[in-house]
Amino acid sequence: MISLTDFLMVSAALFCIGLYMIVSKHNAIQILIGIELMLNAAILNLVAFGKYDKIANGGQVFALFAIVLAAATTAVALAIILNVYKKYKTIDPGRINNLKD
């Protein structure tokens, strides 16, 4: 059988890849995808642990909730990116540095 540890490993890998994308990409939408990846890693984790909870089934339920929230997040994030593009004419987060000292 598939051990829990394997799921956790995959999840960890996905999380780190998502982290890498957030920190190093120059495109806002790719950062968004990185966030999605991180979320997906978290959901995988939930599902993996949820196998051992037949009665309350918390793992799978919260996985559902998480997916819904991810959708909402993405919608709002895209709207924000659109607005940012309208103002700054670029979606490179490195260039949007009006908050600098």
Binding site: V23, P93, G94, I96, N97, L99, K100, D101
Partner: protein, 666 residues
Amino acid sequence: MLPLFAGIVNSCLPGKRNKVSGWIATAAILASCVLSVIIFAKTWNVRETHVQQLWFTIGDTKLYAGILLNNLSALMLLLVSVIALPVHIYSTAYMKNDENYDRYFIYLSFFCFSMLALVVVDSMVLLYVFWELVGFSSYLLIGFWFTREKAVQANKKAFLMNRIGDVGLLTAIIILFAQYHTFDIAQLFGEGGLAGQPTITNGLWVAHGGGLPAIWQYIACGGIFLGVAAKSAQFPLHTWLPDAMEGPTSISALIHAATMVAAGVFLLGRVYPMFTTAELDILAVIGCFTAFMAATIALTQNDLKRILAYSTISQLGFMVMAMGIGAYASSLFHLVTHAFFKCLLFLVAGIVIHQMEHIKKDNDLDIDPQNILYMGGLRKKMPFTFIAAVIAGLALIGLPLTSGYLSKDGILIQAVDWSDSKSLLFRLVPIGAIITTWLTAFYVARMIVKVFFGEFRLEQFHPHIKYHCSDGGWQYRATLILLALACLFPFFSLNPLLYEQGWIFGGFNSIQLARVNPYHTIIPAGVNILSVLLIYWAWAVYTGRKILVFPQTGLLFRLSYHEWFIDKVYNKVLVRAVLAFSKALSWFDHNIIDGFINLLPLITIALSKITAWIDHYIIDGISRVLAFIVQITGNFVRRFQGGKIQYYLFSMLAIVLALFILKILI
């Protein structure tokens, strides 16, 4: 004192123009002459006068300045002023066309002042002072025509040789002071003086106050002798005198015939009691040798003044020799007579040369006006001069009826007597003296014959020249008459043949020889007869009657003609060595000392360059590095607030990670 003042006033006065200064100088000399006669009358054989004053004190030693007038100084005083007077008169005519007329008289007065002072001072220190001044004035006068190269070299040589003598004299004075603790001449050398007393026993110079090793006495005497040799032109310091003939002839007459060169003999007279017998013997030998040597050289010289110069050297040798053999009085007697006839001879030579120069200028010839080969037959043209020259020449030779006879034969007789009491070797001294006398006769005759007799030889070399010669103005004639009279015997002694009756002779203590001594008759007779023969022979030879003509070549001739090569030896050995040494020193000074001094700024410049480099690179470098570090750090840290959100996130995560790792590891 009074002649001194006259001299000083004289030397302060000039600065005026030509003729006037000449008359002022002459008037001053006339005044001093008169005064010296007065002094002489008061002092001679009557009493001594000694006046002193405290000059200065060093420590415990007091130095006095004052005047000592005894027989010797009174005589010298009279001599100097009496000789100087005709020379001054003569000079006013001789130098009348010279543009430096006033300078000449300044120097002449200065010289007279120094000489007069020299003979009257009473302290060895003052003696030395005036000794040097006399040497200095002669330097000025020899080089009077300093635009001529030869004159400049001659006066340099004279001064240097005199300097050597001065060193000797100074040494002697100091040694005497160390021994006797006084500079006073009267105390040292007068009657019962200190210097006359001591003896040399067991190698120690015993004296009143203490003893010194005997060597000092010899050195002192050697020092005195050096001074005498330099001033009076004895061997080996005689070479300056012939060269000193570059000066005006009247100067040669005064200084080098009569007075300055006599200063050496005067010094001997002053310090005479100090010498021991051995030293006196040496003195005699050297004097004789000098006389002989000079006479041989004078035989072949062709320059009129040089003949006279060598003759002076020879006669001075006589005087020194006389001192050496103990004929103190005769020596001084000869000094006086020599002064007169030598001065006269020089003045005659001056006139002749003057005429030759006129001829040269008139006809634009290129001849040496002093060369006797060009002269001749002047007897007819300048009769007055001729007579004066003959008188002086006869006096020089020492024939009877002249004053020279009295003094010179006195010396000869005493020389023979003296050598009697010595060993056989010392026989050479009087023999040498006698031979010298004959040589003197020959060269004097040669000179007079060549100049005054025969044909005027210049015509043979340069025909068709116009000339006229005359005796010159009253200044010349008066001078010549005065001096010529003094050459004759009545001036000095009433008896022409017996020298003991000369009044000078009676003024000094000396050995009185018995009249019965056979030498008293043999020597004068023999010497004089042979002299007359020699004169005739010279006349015969040089007026062209070809009897025993001497060869003009051959070793002896060459030796004599080139002055025994002494001058050349001196030049090669001494002069070159000194010049090389001074060149080495100046090279040393220029390169090493100046080089060292030039090195210091170079070092300073190098040091300052190094400092600048250090300052520029190292010190500035440190501050630059610091600024660079700050800049980098700032740049690095600034990036964290760059406004890039990803950096913010990155830093946050990095910290979290670090925490995790620390947690896990630790």
